[in-house]
Symmetry: C2
Subunit: 156 residues, 2 copies
Amino acid sequence: MPKRDYFNDPNAPVANSIVVAVSAVVRSDRGKLLLIERTDNGLFALPGGAQDIGESVTEAVRREVREETGIVVDVIGLSGIYSDPRHVIAYDDGEVRQEFSLCFHARPVGGSLTTSSESRRVQWVDPSELDGLEIHPSMRLRIDHGLSNTDQPYLG
Amino acid sequence: MPKRDYFNDPNAPVANSIVVAVSAVVRSDRGKLLLIERTDNGLFALPGGAQDIGESVTEAVRREVREETGIVVDVIGLSGIYSDPRHVIAYDDGEVRQEFSLCFHARPVGGSLTTSSESRRVQWVDPSELDGLEIHPSMRLRIDHGLSNTDQPYLG
């Protein structure tokens, strides 16, 4: 579904929906970070997606990470809440969705790197390499929070 | 809006929506807990309600607590995430909502106890008095987590 992100944009359309999405900061034993290259816009991102009706948020995290990366994870904590009304995403069908995303800490427990229709590349990235990758500012914020080792989740 | 709660009920209807709701564990300096007696069902509960489009989750907490109790709060942390697909709420208009609630820690910074159309009583309750109050099991779970002083939020 084609879409457009508006982030702190005074000309953004008015939101008409909130949909729960989840993402995950998955770290390997060596501290590398699991990232996908999104098929829809070519940007690097944490794996994640919308929660389905009938599953809990932690079930949504495990499903999305597995679908997009092939990696099986355990969810070990919450990294942050992102519910900024100044970040909206407009879809072709008229939906304008206000950002609502929960980002979790997770660790790999199985599986192997596998691409999907939504993720044309999947890789473990050393945090020192992040500055060389094209990443949306709102996604980079989540990554930076997830790597920051603070005790309390970010509340945004 | 009349409604019915189903909690771990095999005869519950199938959910068709997820709506973000928030609630707050507000503690006084003396450790008392801010509770409302709900007008719709007479049960005691934490103040809270649905997030509005156009506000962040912490803005929703401050608004709901103020509307239902008269108390102005600062949000200081996340107590738990409640997204159990086995808890659904059926409304008269056909909506069957899967539980999705974020419960926050908050502290009072102003205002005074005031009832509302949704809260026919508002009071500071000593935790030792909780067992004498009629409280829905899913709400009691949130209260118990909120009083338990654990570092990591509950992920449910």
